[in-house]
Amino acid sequence: MHGLAAHWSGPDMSFNIVDFLFSLVQLTTFDYLRAVWEGDMSPGLIEAILDVIAILTVSTFLLLIVLFLIWLERKVIARIQDRIGPNRVGGRFGLLQTVADVLKLLTKETLTPAGADTIAYNLAPLLTVMTALLMWAVIPFAPNVIGVDLNVGLFYVLAVSSASVVTLLLAGWGSNNKYALLGAFRSVAQLVSYEVPMVLSLIIPILLARSMYMQELVLAQTVPFLIVAPLSAIIFFISALAETGRTPFDLLEAESEIVAGFHVEYGGMKFGMFFLAEFVSTLFMSGLFATIYLGGWRLFGLERLETFGPLLGLIVFFIKMFAVYFVFIWVRGTLPRVRIDQMLDLNWKFLVPLSLILVLVVAVVDKLIPAGAGDYYRAGVHLVSNVAVGFVALELLRRHAARQRAIYEERLVRAHSSAAEPEVMAEAAH
């Protein structure tokens, strides 16, 4: 696709299993098949068949990796909480636990609650998985492996990911259940709100790379954008946590408050689809973070090696993606759930103004850097300005917190002296 290692050509190549396996290692199978089929079929048909093969491969892989992700998450969370986690089904490490769970879900009765909006109720699980899968079309797995390098790549991701709000609302509204409806409204408030800082923070990598092509975003990262623009990366990570509805932002399915939120009425595989979509989109957010902030498949020029470069790039990408995914799990095991007003305040009163200012600063600083400056010089200037903005923001936050604390303590002291409220007094004594 990018011609990095495509040696396959020739008018009448015939299929050869050795060459085919070699092309698999080089990740140039599609170029190979194109060369083999050339002449037998029309170019349009070849492209269509290759597209279908690519889609089936990626989607099947994603559906299967979720089995592993669920196991991984349970195992890691268990370790954080000083437990063992799944350890019975499938050997010492409980590797087949998720497979057993899937089999159980498959044999459950499919129910539709009375009074539910049948179309919305049954369409929602399909749509959420569709949106979760469709986002992967533009993720560059390796130098020559990407579904399609759209000219609006990152923009496409935002467009598709925001469709997930609609599916959650469909599920919550269609279920005819009050908990589900509460969960759906919370999800609208949360997902819609956190999309703003996410969109604004994603402007910065685009500004730095001068492109929305995903591959060019990777190629622009001589210095990974995590180092060039750390503040943008942090804002993106926090909004990604909220967008995927994970702890500490799992208000849309808060078990202790609204049972299971928008999917409370779902059972069997329909419930399984919501679970699947959550994990696929979390993995996607990790992959997106790895692509636009950690340099994707790049690692010190390793991917430029002659034969195994693309394969190494693929491995590097996966290592980065799972490293980010591990942080997602880590956060889940560490932080408690926030309240809805705290969640919205954090977004509208901190992250949105901060990301607006950051866009301003990066845009102005970028224009002030002389045109001939090298990559490292540019990266350094951006790093300094990012850290400065972050420092000022945290300092303002610290002062605000100190003020709030002073007000609270004053109230406690007053209550203590008048001794009118024994409860507050007891609290102050601690």
Partner: protein, 118 residues
């Protein structure tokens, strides 16, 4: 250009298969004995009272409205960012003005108490 979107089109057409297959398998494999008691909506064990589809807290919609303003305007920043090289110093100034207009919108919503959760 259009060939790029062919992939998305095929993906869009094929993607319902992946969630539909397990759901249909579930429907085929699972028991099918519905009864009115089973189909009641869940509400912690008691029967549901009243209609679910009611007028809802307006606060949620206000956030949605603020979001629409921001998202639509943020969209305009993407092409500017992608073509920043071809734009002069004046364009940078325009970006500043544009973002400040956005900030004024946020400040207005904030001062009117639209961002307070009550």
């Amino acid at each position: 250009m259009l060939a790029d979107w062919q992939f998305i089109g095929i993906f869009l057409a094929l993607s319902p298969i992946f969630p539909a297959a397990p759901v249909i398998a579930n429907w085929l494999l699972g028991p099918r004995k519905p009864n009115p008691l089973k189909q009641q909506t869940y509400e912690c064990g008691v029967e549901t009272v009243g209609d679910t589809w009611i007028q809802f807290k307006v606060q949620y919609y206000i956030y949605a409205l603020v979001f629409v303003v921001f998202d639509v305007e943020a969209v305009f920043l993407f092409p500017i960012a992608a073509a920043y090289d071809q734009l002069g110093l004046f364009a940078a100034f325009e970006v500043v003005v544009f973002v400040l207009i956005l900030a004024v919108g946020l400040g207005y919503a904030w001062s009117r108490g639209a961002l307070e959760w009550t």
